[in-house]
């Protein structure tokens, strides 16, 4: 889910930027440093909305650089275990399928796809029910539940399931009933 959240970061600034445009420089550096990054704790930083507060700068011994604690408002995307969301299928293989919800990748293993759906290795690999009424292939929109997240320093991966009530292909009316 997307959140509007206040985060804090210590920004180091070279003394040559000290002057009337110091704040401006802090903002542009913040945007450059932070937008598009991902941390396991706060998720993906999608866009910075503004500066909340700039604290007092502290000169660092030996370098002349000054560290400013900056509080800023931003939009982040952070997936949670137990969350139900919609995603677009990006790749299908016999192990399961990958889907994307905004910046995050979600893997749904074939154990977590309903048992009545079989893998078909056609030109476009897909999972299809025996009567052919429901099909999952690249670009299908699915509703899934996140059951686990794996976090490393710069990336979040999710494991999802569509084996539950009201989950699965969205655009198909029979799946919505």
């Amino acid at each position: 889910m997307f959140f509007h959240i206040i985060l804090e970061r210590n920004m180091q600034l070279h003394p040559r930027h000290f002057g009337a445009r110091l704040r401006e420089k802090l903002v542009s550096k913040l945007i450059k440093d932070v937008e598009g990054t991902c941390s396991g704790r706060h998720g993906f930083v999608v866009a910075i909305m503004g500066i909340e507060h700039v604290g007092k700068g502290l000169i660092r011994d030996g370098t002349g650089f000054v560290t400013f604690p900056v509080k800023y408002k931003c939009v982040v995307f952070r997936p949670f275990k137990g969350e139900i969301l919609e995603a677009v299928v990006t790749m299908v293989n016999k192990m399961g399928f990958f889907a994307e919800a905004g910046p995050v990748q979600i893997f749904v293993s074939n154990h977590l796809i309903p048992d009545d759906m079989e893998f078909q290795s056609a030109d476009t690999p897909n999972y299809t029910t025996s009567d052919g009424s429901v099909k999952i292939q690249k670009d299908t929109e699915v509703r899934l539940k996140i059951i686990g997240t794996r976090v490393d320093a710069t990336e979040i991966f999710c494991i999802g399931t569509i084996k539950d009530d009201f989950l699965g292909v969205i655009s198909d009316p029979s799946a919505a009933v």
Binding site: H4, E35, G36, F44, V46, I84, E100, A101
Partner: protein, 154 residues
């Protein structure tokens, strides 16, 4: 991070970092990112090219999945849902997924049925009907099939 292991959206446990955060519906994010893009457009020719991939992917995602496209509808959805003493997280899940039946709503947001919230099936039903009304009356051409759903359910 001690909260990490207990994290579970179905029980509304989001960890301490997100307690104060405001949840955003896809439609709201779409408005915010669009405005951001407009600002950048004044500075350069091809702003999307300069934005990180995370921005581009998020924008595509919210455009594809937001049920409501005009700012008024987005505002109405939040207004209607906020009459029902929902947690922020619940409100946004409902606003994003637009369940059509009470069972579906409870499957999407299990915490609706938690201890003594005074939300009986009837109240949930009422909430969903109100939501469906906005969905079908928001007159933008995006994703006709979803509009179709809204009309069918009336």
């Amino acid at each position: 991070m001690s909260g990490e292991e207990e994290e579970n959206a179905a029980e509304l446990k989001l960890g301490e970092d997100f307690v104060k955060a405001k949840c955003l519906m896809n439609g709201e994010v779409s408005l915010i990112l669009d405005r951001r893009l407009e600002q950048l457009q004044q500075l350069s020719e091809d702003p999307l090219n300069q934005m990180p991939q995370v921005f581009e992917k998020s924008l595509q995602y919210v455009k594809r999945f937001s049920r409501y496209n005009n700012p008024d509808a987005v505002r109405q959805v939040r207004e209607i849902l906020s009459r029902h003493q929902l947690a922020e997280f619940e409100l946004v899940v409902l606003g994003n997924l637009c369940p059509e039946t009470v069972e579906e709503a409870i499957a999407m947001v299990p915490s609706l049925k938690d201890k003594g919230r005074g939300l009986d099936d009837e109240a949930i039903e009422k909430m969903l009907t109100d939501l469906a009304l906005i969905k079908s009356s928001s007159s933008s051409g995006h994703l006709l099939k979803k509009l179709g759903f809204g009309l069918a359910s009336l």
